[in-house]
Amino acid sequence: MKSLDKEEQKSKKNGKETKQSPVFTGNFESDLKKVKDLLGENSDILFRKFRLNNTKLKAALFYLDGLSDKELIDKFLLSSLMKPFSETDKEQIKQDGLKDFLKNNVLSIGEIKESDEPEKAVIEILNGSAALIIESVPEVLVLGIKKPKTRDLQEPISEPLVRGPRIGFTENIKDNTAILRNQGQNEDLFFLKKSVGERAKKQTVIAYINGIANQDLVDEIVRRIDKIKIDFLPESGYIEQLIEDNFLSPFPQIQSTERPDRVMGALMEGRVAILLDGTPYVLIAPVTLSMLLQSPEDYYERWIPATLVRLLRFLAAFITLYGPSLYISFISFHPGLIPTKLAISIAGSREGVPFPTLLEAMLMEIAIEILREAGLRLPKPIGPAIGIVGGLIIGEAAVSAGIVSRIMVIVVALTAISSFAMPQYSLGTSLRILRFISMLAASIYGLYGVVLFTLLFLSHLVRLYSFGVPYISPWTPLRMKDLKDFIVRGPMFLMKSRPVLLQTKEPRRKG
């Protein structure tokens, strides 16, 4: 600890020293030294000394290997900077001064900034810009020639649709904001830039639609993001965990998505999106439980099939939560409540199974969770194969070995498939966790345990907020207007108002 403290003090001292050191002076050698001292001995920073346009003035160009556009530097920058000045040029220089002449007539680059502080110039260099130091000019010209490393736009892997745009976000924030801009001309789409991270700064963008989103909501999100104190943000999941309302809840309180259309839809409802450089996952807040059960496709399909699919999803969520626990409570506590024939056939299939129902269910559930996890982590080509083969073989073998009953396998498999039907992976995970709690409750109290679990589960949900919006709305507090888009996806002519609880500046949609 002590040594750490010392180091900190040292670095603070260093910081002070560099701050004390004056701004660029125009003295070439000392300016060069300042920048070099700040940059240290980094192998990926290149610098090129040359004589400016065949005059006696010395100049140097700093840039980052790999991140700056080398082709641009070679073909355009250096060539134009080394070409001799003509007579008319010289006269012009006398009129304008060297710096302005270079900016106006020589450097054919869109993004040019001036910087008189070495520290700022160095940050720009590290971001991928090139810095041009010229003798007798007391400022450094920062040239925006960053060529970001990115991949092509691809279909989002984690949220595929049958119908809908095939485009997904990428790791590059500039691409992502561009994709959002590209969704339609909208001068009200605001991007608020922030850089977060104490040691390694990273760019985040808070996107919202001015004139729709509630200003208090935007302010609150900005406030929470400003409060983030962390060395480095690898992924937007960090932001999610640092700004969510309740860290003890099993439910995701912020939605993360790879789909631009989903983000755009949320923005148009008056929500706010948070983009982070370096990840294709964009955060949407505030979120409600029903949003996590919806898919953009619900709106692309006609309303009748879309509604049916939604009902199916609610059923799937119910099965995920209650499937095994209802089975346990009916089999081991209340066999009298199910039809006699069914009870007999279940009892018959359980004959020879040495374990109580809970243990039987737990065995299978844990086995299938392990299979799922293994399928995820394996290399892509063999993942699904292992999952299917493992599931089939283990299930079949477990039944024939008499460890579990056939009906148990059906229940477990149905539950697992239901949890896959959740359009948001994170929701499926939380329901899976809760399922184990409900199984335990059912094995202690039977049906009464299921009731207790439900009450606990609902008590938690009604107490949960996401940025001031009740998590379980629009179910409750009941707003009739919002029910058109809850279990039922109403026909388009009904979709004329935004969710009431978001308190948007303009509650009605145009048109």
Partner: protein, 363 residues
């Protein structure tokens, strides 16, 4: 942060709040207690009239509360009748609510251990129940209202379904003759049926927390109207299926009605489990409301930090719920509660209202 009125409830929520409060243990035993007094098939009429009286009483309370906007009875009764008398009334209310709350827990553990969990000790049934209530109440009145808003519609749907399926075993003769012995027995039944609507007093507290307190009358009428509908349907169904002689001799006539039929060809053949599920959720609602109101009283009258009161009440609830030894003692506790409710909420609010109006006029 969007402030979606964290401490206020909507009109719909207030309505459901009142209905949830009223509908609880009564629905399983009501047919027996009423028929035992009325002794004619017109018992359902008595339930209907009792409900109308309850509405009148409820509206009186609303009017009283509207005289003091933003204040609950604990706060305004002091202003109205002086510090000492007000405190006394407030403390009586708190005691009543604590005991009622414990009574609900006890009913739940009795019925559950009798019906579905034979041999499970009562403490094991009631403890998790109380703890969950404690957890919910930390979210204040809005959480309560929201939970009811979810649970109540489900309860209504399941209840209607289960009762409607029992029409198979109806004997219309059991309902006749209509008013064969005149109106006298029906009126005699009122002494029991008004008890069944205990819960209409919720308006003494709710108005203070409503987004639109001016709509409180409406939500009282609907809030009591829904239970009236429930009770009348239950009475008619139970009497039609079991006949008045059959009703008197059963401890839980409504449950027996549901048990009396089977539906072939469905996933479930018997439905009493459904009834028990929604019924225990309704008990939970009533339990939470009384628990909440009791703790509200203590914290508002004595200015104590709310969290401490909430936790401090827990052992009392548990111990009181364990006090009655037999089921008969539980029922007689229920009787005492009913009588004190009539005194506390039947007779006192009207003079208070007149006093409040008179004071208002003087001012």
């Amino acid at each position: 942060m969007l402030m979606n009125n964290r401490n206020k409830i909507t009109t719909v929520q207030a309505t459901i709040f009142t209905s949830s409060y009223i509908l609880a243990s009564g629905i399983l035993t009501l047919p027996r207690t009423v028929v035992a007094v009325v002794k004619t098939p017109d018992a359902w009429l008595s339930v209907l009239i009792g409900g109308c009286i309850a509405i009148v009483l409820g509206v009186i309370m609303v009017k009283l509360s509207q005289c003091y906007p933003g204040k609950t009875i604990y706060q305004y009764v002091n202003i109205l009748i002086g510090n000492w008398a007000g405190k006394t009334y407030g403390i009586l209310l708190v005691i009543y609510f604590v005991v009622l709350s414990a009574y609900e827990v006890r009913t739940l553990s009795d019925v559950t251990s009798y019906m579905i969990l034979e041999g499970t000790p009562a403490w094991a049934i009631s403890m998790p129940f109380i703890w969950i209530g404690y957890y919910l109440l930390q979210g204040w009145i809005t959480s309560l209202a929201r939970l009811f808003e979810i649970v109540f519609p489900i309860s209504v749907a399941v209840f209607l379904l289960v009762i409607l399926m029992s029409t198979k075993s109806f004997e219309m003769d059991n309902l006749r003759p209509f008013l064969g012995e005149g109106i006298q027995p029906v009126l005699k039944g009122l002494t029991k049926t008004v008890f069944a609507y205990i819960g209409f007093e919720s308006m003494l507290f709710l108005v203070a927390y409503m987004e639109k307190p001016e709509k409180a009358v409406k939500s009282t009428i609907f809030g009591i109207g829904i239970p009236i509908l429930f009770y009348v349907i239950t009475m008619v169904a139970v009497i039609a299926a079991l006949s008045i002689d059959g009703v008197v001799h059963r401890t839980w006539p409504t449950l027996d009605l549901i048990r009396s039929y089977e539906m072939k060809g469905l996933l479930f053949e018997r439905f009493e489990s459904f009834l028990l599920v929604i019924w225990s959720m309704q008990i939970f609602s009533t339990f939470c409301i009384t628990y909440f109101v009791a703790f509200l009283g203590i914290s508002q009258m004595f200015n104590i930090k709310t969290q401490k009161v909430l936790l401090g009440l827990l052992p009392f609830l548990f111990l009181i719920s364990m006090t009655p030894r037999t089921i008969d003692e539980v029922f007689s506790l229920g009787d005492i509660l009913g009588k004190s409710a009539i005194i506390l909420f039947g007779f006192i609010p009207l003079p208070l209202l007149i006093l409040a109006k008179w004071k208002g006029r003087v001012r």
